[in-house]
């Protein structure tokens, strides 16, 4: 006869108000197999847990059912309590009589009856619970960091400084990300390059960081502690080991008019190029799409030009370089792939998102986006830090900033706030005023969201010291009228239409998820929201973890983030990884599938349905070594415990520990009441 203890929680008044807890405890005391049944005000409290522990010892309990809140809330709590009293933690289950009973029913009689039945069901289940041991898995103490923006750089450095090996993968030719394009940063106005480039160099020089630029994640297999990742090293046509970064090839390149991605189209670059002077590594990359040689190859099959090869004294230029795949074993993955900016134009790459034709972006040259303004304001930018109109190079005397371009606009398909635009617009207004004395900046905003340390003070400074005129309202349209851009807006605070003759307009565009991030997320089995931002495991309590164990998030891949947030997330993710690496082995919940070798016929339906590829083929041989049969075998490190194999197996020769057929059967049987 089992000896099960039943503990009915009042949850203060939360349960006891609707459920007659005394009656539940009494009813359960009569239930076969129940050795002890009681109720208590707060089971999760210290005395409550003590009550459970004492009962386990005193009544020699071999199973515990706590009827209280949702197991999602306190299952861990009570299993720990059971464990400390010497009972295997997996012999403890919870009946949910709060969320699923007292909170959703008013009738006391009905609720009490239901609570009794729910608790009985769990008692019946526990009778079939088996002691289980947490699973131990070895850990590969090397981390993969995907993305070499500020978040990836921070994570890589923290990890490497903490003693871990790091593989840092960046898809562009240089690390640095969006931050390297910025002029100054809010709220301190310190130069972005000045604080970032030393970090980039540190990454390059760190003995424990392997930096792979112009590379992308091809494939990910395995599980926490034991991932195998394949990295595609894209052919940059330049041998990284031979190149010394002298730049002779760049000087020799005849194709000089390619719009520079780094300068957001405001500057030009050559076909063989480094994106910006401080690039890390300082190794040029050949843009094959624009290279004369490759164009000629595609057209005539013959190589033309070859000037860069001739110019290179190290013989580092290799036109026949191919993409190659490198494989690494890693124990954890930090995803720090960042964001892209919302496209303002009518044509949108993603269905469900629409642009703003009425803002003239792309047709009126002096309407630019925020990142382009950063390049204008940057000392190393195309105008050497002078704010000049792209159309005629004149200094704009009146400038209008429009916030929330794309953000918070359901009609455009993006309802979220991009978080950084209020701040960088204030910064732009300030920088503008510092550079164009006597200039006037206007800002159209919906709300000012300046909720960081020193942020609101910063916006106030833009308004009060630098005289930016903030107008609360939207702009309906703007168009070129001779020399000026007529900006038609509405000031909702004075309830008046406003028309501004601006020399230049800057649109603060929304932050969007990276294109094709879904493909990477799928490789990592990480879920994403409808905007393709990757999902954290818990919005409050597990903000940098994902639902895939061993995969962590840092920066704007998860949601719009500014630099301080991204860095904080990166350090948090690094700390999580170092925590993971601090032990030689990992412990995991033992809710995994197990095959009964005696029954399995090896039809491998289980293998077909397993989302994780956890089912392997195992040969069963007799003593002489003759093959008897090939059966399924579940790799406990890979199995995540969904149980799809169990429901699929025709002969029921695979079981899911913790949710066995016997346990479910017992629960269904208990329905009889």
């Amino acid at each position: 006869m089992p000896r099960i203890g039943v503990f009915i929680c009042h949850c203060g008044e939360n349960i006891a108000r609707t459920v007659d807890v005394k009656r539940v405890a009494e009813a359960l005391a009569e239930h076969p197999g129940v050795a002890y049944s009681t109720d208590y005000k707060y089971m999760c409290s210290d005395p409550g847990q003590t009550l459970v522990k004492q009962a386990i010892v005193e009544h020699k309990l071999d199973g515990v059912v706590v009827a209280a809140c949702s197991p999602r809330m306190h299952e861990k709590t009570f299993r720990r309590a059971a464990s400390s009293a010497g009972l295997n933690p997996y012999l403890c289950e919870m009946a949910n009589i709060r969320e699923h009973c007292s909170w959703i029913h008013e009738d006391r009689e009905e609720a009490t009856q239901k609570a009794i039945e729910l608790t009985r069901m769990m008692v019946e289940k526990v009778k079939y619970n088996a002691p289980m041991q947490a699973i131990r898995i070895p850990v590969e103490k090397r981390a993969l960091v995907i993305g070499g923006g500020i978040a990836g750089i921070q994570a890589a450095l923290d990890l490497a400084d903490g003693g871990a090996e790091v593989v840092l993968v960046e898809k562009e030719p240089s690390i640095g990300g969006h931050m390297s394009q910025l002029s100054e940063t809010f709220p301190t106005l310190d130069c972005s390059q000045c604080i970032l480039t030393p970090r980039m160099v540190e990454v390059y020089q760190h003995p424990r960081i392997k930096l792979l630029t112009f590379s992308e994640v091809e494939n990910v297999e395995g599980y926490i502690g034991n991932f195998t990742v394949q990295i595609r090293r894209k052919a940059r046509s330049v041998d990284e080991d031979l190149c010394n970064g002298c730049g002779d090839c760049i000087a020799s390149c005849p194709v000089k008019k390619i719009p520079s991605e780094f300068e957001c189209g405001l500057g030009k670059r050559t076909a063989i190029y480094v994106p910006f002077p401080q690039a890390v590594p300082n190794t040029p990359t050949l843009d094959r799409e624009n290279c004369t040689l490759f164009k000629s190859r595609a057209k005539t099959g013959k190589d033309a030009c070859m000037r860069c090869q001739k110019a290179c004294q190290r013989g580092a230029i290799n036109y026949n370089q191919q993409d190659r795949i490198e494989e690494f074993k890693v124990g954890a993955i930090v995803v720090a792939t960042g964001f892209q900016l919302y496209k303002i134009t009518k044509e949108q790459p993603r269905p469900g998102i629409s642009g703003y034709g009425e803002y003239g972006y792309g047709t009126v040259p002096d309407v630019i986006d925020g990142l382009q303004f950063e390049r204008l304001a940057s000392a190393s930018g195309p105008t050497a830090g002078k704010i000049l109109r792209p159309s005629d190079g004149k200094e704009p005397k009146k400038i209008v900033f429009l916030q929330c371009i794309g953000s918070r606009d359901c009609a455009k398909g993006i309802e979220y706030c991009s978080k950084i635009c209020c701040m960088y617009t204030a910064k732009h207004a300030m920088l503008y005023r510092h550079k164009v004395h006597g200039g006037q900046a206007y800002v159209f905003y919906m709300d000012i969201r300046a909720n960081g340390k020193g942020y609101d003070e910063f916006v106030r400074r833009a308004i009060e010291e630098d005289g930016a005129k903030y107008l609360r309202g939207r702009v309906s349209k703007l168009y070129r009228d001779g020399e000026v851009i007529k900006v038609h807006g509405f000031d909702t605070l004075s309830s008046e239409p406003v028309v501004i003759d601006a020399d230049m307009v800057v649109l603060a565009t929304a932050m969007r998820a990276q294109p094709n991030i879904e493909a990477l997320a799928q490789k990592l089995s990480v879920s994403y929201d409808k905007h393709a931002f990757l999902n954290e495991a818990h919005p409050k309590l597990r903000p940098v973890e994902t639902n895939t164990a061993g995969v962590f998030l840092a920066g704007a891949v998860q949601a719009p983030r500014d630099i301080p947030d991204s860095v904080a997330m990166a350090s948090a993710a690094a700390a999580k990884v170092l925590d993971l690496f601090s032990a030689d082995e990992l412990e995991r919940e033992p809710t995994i599938a197990k095959v009964d070798a005696t029954i399995c016929t090896g039809c491998f339906h289980c293998e077909r349905v397993c989302p994780y590829g956890a089912v392997e083929h195992k040969e069963i041989r007799d003593r002489k070594g003759n093959l008897i049969k090939v059966i399924a075998d579940v790799n406990p490190g890979v199995c995540q415990g969904c149980g799809t194999c169990v429901a699929t197996c025709p002969s029921k020769s695979v079981e899911l520990q913790g949710f066995t057929d016997s346990q479910v059967f017992a629960e269904i049987n208990a329905l009889m009441g």
Partner: protein, 294 residues
């Protein structure tokens, strides 16, 4: 394309030339228009301004007729009619209570299955046919495409083009060989039904529209709404086009298409306007003289 044709009051009255030009281009473009039997008022202006239920029930009656008469789509060339019919369809879809109430009033079976189309939408769908049938190059003609308000708004009801930055009229115009100019007042208000009650406002608004079109280099304004036409054409005199400013001809979109198809000004009702369309016809002739006639 077979469509149920809902003329509304204006097509048989002040906007006769709209109707005439539409009928004239229908055949060559393969458009089969069958007038709804027993159609009634769409509820524009008075009804929907005074009584929401009536404002929906009136157009719904016409939609129900169309459904009964077996039409998949109703085509309402008048922008106001289009707006009312499309609004009724939309509101009944969104509001189950209203839907039930209106159906009760209608006293006839109605499953709200009929689509509603406007003139721009219909012609946009016929761009390949227009290009194919065009015999008269309108290459000398620069026109300002004027959308006004009702065709595009509210965006969730009309939905056939970008309400803030539309392009469909320009697309149709390009198909005729004429050049659409870039201008800013395309979607501004013409004053609408205040023509009689607040003529001054209508004149002021209309003047801004015409001036901007002229500044952009347009030889004519193309409209898709009888109200817009009336306000811009009829009120031009009151706008006092002065000091060398010439009059601005206002054409209906099917008139422009008809010109490209080589139809006579008479057939297209081009003689019915207050502002002479002669300058337009001269430019068409100039274009014909320049280019080869197909």
């Amino acid at each position: 394309m077979k469509l149920g044709y809902y003329p509304g009051c204006s097509m048989h009255g002040t906007a006769r030339e709209f109707d005439e030009s539409l009928q004239a281009i229908a055949k060559p473009l393969g458009l089969e228009l069958t007038e709804l039997d027993d159609w009634s008022c769409c509820g524009a202006t008075s009804a929907h301004a005074t009584n929401r239920l009536l404002g929906v029930a009136l157009p719904a009656r016409n939609l129900a007729l169309a459904e009964q008469q077996g039409f998949k789509d109703v085509f309402a060339p008048c922008a106001a009619c289009y707006s009312r019919l499309a609004t009724a369809r939309h509101e009944m879809q969104e509001d189950a209570k209203l839907d039930a109430k209106v159906k009760e009033i209608l006293k006839r079976p109605f499953s709200n299955s009929v689509g509603v189309m406007n003139i721009v939408e219909v012609l946009r769908g016929l761009i390949p046919q227009i290009k194919e049938q065009a015999v008269q190059p309108l290459s000398e003609l620069k026109v300002a495409c004027y959308y006004g308000c009702l065709l595009l708004r509210p965006a969730e009801i009309t939905g056939f083009d970008d309400a803030e930055d539309p392009s469909s009229m320009e697309d149709v115009t390009r198909a005729t060989g004429a050049t659409p100019v870039e201008w800013r007042m395309r979607t501004e208000c013409c004053g609408g039904s205040f023509s009689l009650s607040r003529t001054g406002s209508v004149v002021r608004l209309g003047r801004a529209v015409i001036n901007d079109a002229r500044a952009a280099g347009a030889n004519a304004i193309v409209v898709a709404c009888p109200m817009c036409h009336s306000n811009l054409d009829f009120r031009q005199q009151a706008m006092g086009q002065r000091e060398g400013a010439t009059e601005m001809p206002i054409l209906y979109l099917p008139q422009l298409v008809g010109l490209a198809l080589g139809l006579s000004p008479q057939t297209l009702g081009l003689k019915r306007h207050f502002v002479s369309t002669q300058p337009v016809l001269e430019l068409v002739a100039a274009g014909a003289a320049k280019g080869e006639v197909k």
